[in-house]
Symmetry: C2
Subunit: 118 residues, 2 copies
């Protein structure tokens, strides 16, 4: 049986934790990718899997569920003969796109700069 060594838990949530909490809207493996792949409009489960080859069904499912719970995207179930589901960014989810783009842009330039130095 696992021995629980409970120590002091942060009694007060200071500002840094607030930032961390807000950043968690894009937390989890492939979360930014999922958001990014929805930038052009609604997309189905299997399409997202194809968009992001390395992702497993389990992780994609988990991530979509989390992002839906956070209000970043919405799920539309179409009750057709072959079951079909569509995921779409909400208005606030869409607002994350420029931010992700900015980070990626800086990331590119950092890599270029590192390549120069080597």
């Amino acid at each position: 049986m696992p021995l629980k060594m409970r120590h002091n838990k942060a009694p007060k949530p200071p500002e840094p934790c607030m930032l961390t909490e807000c950043m968690s809207v894009i937390s989890g493996a492939w979360a930014p990718n999922v958001i990014w792949c929805l930038r052009a409009g609604p997309r189905r489960f299997s399409e997202l899997r194809a968009d992001i080859p390395p992702i497993s069904a389990k992780v994609l499912s988990t991530r979509l569920s989390e992002l839906e719970g956070r209000g970043v995207l919405v799920r539309h179930v179409r009750d057709t003969s072959p079951p079909s589901t569509e995921y779409e960014l909400t208005d606030l989810g869409t607002e994350l796109l420029p931010a992700l783009d900015a980070i990626v842009h800086v990331g590119h330039r950092l890599k270029e700069r590192q390549a120069e130095r080597s």
Copy 2:
């Protein structure tokens, strides 16, 4: 390049992996906080520890080292009688600030919206 290439896994790194790689500039616990705390100018090790109470010395040290390696910040060692070190954002590191701010802003509004629904 005389070195042999490895073919163990992913035959070619598709676009989604590129995005993930770029996003990794802000990866690691408290990394966004560290960047954020440097927004107003240089800051010392112990100051950063005080800014972000829950962070441990080990993690702060690791994170600063990683961020320096990525070119996000620079380290200045002052050889004074009490040893002193200052960390400062580079120009590219500074460019991350608006992006972090945007994400945090959306995060806030997502939380507000969730509060309304409950």
